[in-house]
C-alpha cells in the first residue's frame, strides 16, 4: 500500500481561496432556495457578489478536513489552516471577529484561529470545506438532552421553539439544522452540518419529519434538515443549529 505525501502548505492555499470564495459568492443550491423565497433585498445582495463580502460577519472560519487514511500530510496542519485564514482575511478584506479569550476579549486581529475539524476517511484525497458561520445565527443554536419518552413530539416542540426564538434576530429566511442522537456534543456537531444539506433525508421516516417541520416554519425558513445518529438507551440528545440566509460554504478536494 503506497502512501501519498502532501505538504500541509497546500491546505493553506485551499483555505485561503475557499474562505474568500465562500464569503463573496453563495453556493448555487442556496441561491435557488432564496430565489424561491423571494425577498428582493436578499436577492439583490447576493447578485452583487464577488466584490465585497455578502455579510459583514465573515464568521469564525470552521474548517472541515476529510483526510484520506492513505495521505501523509507533512508540516503543521493547524498552523497551515490558520495561515490560510490569515491570508484570506488580508487578501479578501474579510473581518477580524475573533477574540483570543471569551472573557478578556482581545481581538486576535487576523480572525485566527480557525475551528478545525478532522475526519479520517478511506482513500488518498483530502477534502477541505470552509464554513464561515456568523454569530447572529450561531447565538441562536440550542441543545436539549431530551428523555426517550419525549419522543418525536418532544423533538418537534424543541425545534419549533428554537426556530421561533431565532427570528427575526438571526437573518431570516434561515436553514434549520437538527442533530438527533449521539451525545451532547455530537448532536450539536450534526445539527450544524445539517444546516448545509441539500435535498431530503434519504431515510423516508426523517424526510417526512423534515417536511412536517418545514410546513410549520416556512414563513421564515428555506429548509429543515435532520441528521440522526445512534445514541444511548437513556437519552435523546436534540440540537438545533440555525443557518442564516447567507448560508456560506465552499469545498475542494486535494
Amino acid at each position: 500500500m503506497s502512501v501519498r505525501e502532501m505538504d500541509a502548505r497546500r491546505l493553506t492555499d485551499a483555505v485561503a481561496k475557499l474562505y474568500v470564495q465562500a464569503c463573496l459568492v453563495l453556493p448555487e443550491p442556496v441561491k435557488a432556495k432564496l430565489y424561491a423565497f423571494g425577498n428582493p433585498y436578499i436577492i439583490e445582495n447576493f447578485e452583487r457578489n464577488g466584490i465585497i463580502p455578502l455579510c459583514q460577519d465573515t464568521g469564525m472560519a470552521a474548517v472541515y478536513l476529510e483526510v484520506g487514511q492513505d495521505v501523509h500530510l507533512t508540516g503543521d496542519i493547524p498552523a497551515a489552516v490558520d495561515e490560510g485564514v490569515r491570508r484570506a482575511v488580508k487578501e479578501g478584506y474579510l473581518r477580524s471577529s475573533i477574540v483570543a479569550d471569551p472573557l478578556r476579549r482581545q481581538n486576535t486581529g487576523d480572525n485566527t484561529p480557525a475551528l478545525l475539524y478532522t475526519d479520517l476517511v478511506p482513500g488518498d484525497r483530502v477534502k477541505v470545506t470552509v464554513v464561515p458561520r456568523g454569530f447572529g445565527c450561531e447565538n441562536k443554536a440550542r441543545v436539549a438532552m431530551l428523555a426517550p419518552a419525549d419522543g418525536v413530539e418532544g423533538v418537534k416542540a424543541f425545534v419549533l421553539e428554537t426556530a421561533k426564538l431565532a427570528v427575526p434576530d438571526a437573518c431570516p429566511p434561515v436553514s434549520i439544522g437538527v442533530g438527533l442522537g449521539g451525545s451532547f456534543d455530537r448532536a450539536a456537531y450534526l445539527a450544524k452540518k445539517a444546516t448545509l444539506r441539500d435535498g431530503p433525508n434519504p431515510d423516508p421516516y426523517y424526510a417526512q419529519l423534515e417536511s412536517a417541520l418545514y410546513e410549520q416554519t416556512k414563513k421564515f425558513s428555506f429548509g429543515v434538515h435532520i441528521l440522526a445518529a445512534p445514541t444511548h438507551i437513556a437519552g435523546l440528545p436534540c440540537a438545533v443549529s440555525i443557518g442564516c440566509h447567507s448560508l456560506r460554504y465552499a469545498s475542494e478536494e486535494l
Partner: protein
C-alpha cells in the same frame, strides 16, 4: 409608502414614523456594537463626554469589513440588537434618538424608546454588501483599538430601513 428622514432627528420627525414604515435615512450616523457600547457607557458612568455629540443622533449596530481600495467601506449590515440592550437606555438618556439593528429588543429598551420619543429601525439582516452602496463616507471617530468595533462616522444617503419600534412603543416585523 417610503418616508425620508435626515439626521440629526427631531421629535417631530420621529413622531411621524410608525412601526412597519419603510424609511430612507440621509445624513450622518454612528456605528457602535458590543465593545464600543461598553466603552461609551463607561464614559457616561464616569460623567465624561461621549466622543461625538449624541444629540438627536442615530447609532447603527454594525461592524464593517475593511474597505477594499476605491470604496468608502466594506460590507456593513446590521448586527443583532438585543446584545446592546443592557447599554441602550443610558445612551438614549444621553440624547441618542435613533437605533438601527436587527431583531427584538428587551422591555426596558422598548419602554425607554417610548418615554424618550425615540425610534428603533431594522435594516435587512445579512445584506451588508447591498447596504454598503448607501454609505458615502466612513471614518473612525473613537476607539480605533477596537478594529471593526470602533465607532465609525458614516455619511449615508437614502439608507433603507424599516421601523421596528416607533415612539408609541408599537412594534412590527414581518417575521413575528
Amino acid at each position: 409608502m417610503e418616508k425620508h428622514i435626515t439626521t440629526p432627528l427631531t421629535d417631530e420627525a420621529i413622531k411621524g414614523l410608525r412601526a412597519g414604515d419603510e424609511v430612507r435615512i440621509t445624513g450622518v450616523i454612528y456605528t457602535a456594537r458590543d465593545a464600543a457600547h461598553k466603552k461609551l457607557c463607561e464614559l457616561l458612568a464616569a460623567g465624561q463626554a461621549l466622543p461625538f455629540d449624541p444629540a438627536g443622533q442615530i447609532i447603527y449596530y454594525t461592524g464593517p469589513t475593511p474597505a477594499p481600495p476605491g470604496r468608502p467601506i466594506g460590507s456593513c449590515g446590521p448586527t443583532t440588537s438585543y446584545r446592546m440592550d443592557k447599554y441602550t437606555p443610558a445612551l438614549l438618556a444621553a440624547g441618542i434618538k435613533g437605533l438601527i439593528g436587527k431583531g427584538r429588543r428587551g422591555q426596558a429598551v422598548l419602554d425607554a424608546i417610548r418615554e424618550r420619543t425615540c425610534v428603533y429601525f431594522s435594516a435587512e439582516g445579512g445584506c451588508g454588501a447591498l447596504l454598503a452602496n448607501y454609505v458615502k463616507s466612513c471614518r473612525v471617530v473613537a476607539f480605533p483599538e477596537l478594529g471593526t468595533e470602533a465607532v465609525h462616522r458614516l455619511e449615508v444617503e437614502n439608507f433603507p430601513v424599516s421601523v421596528f419600534c416607533d415612539c408609541l412603543g408599537e412594534i412590527y416585523s414581518p417575521y413575528l
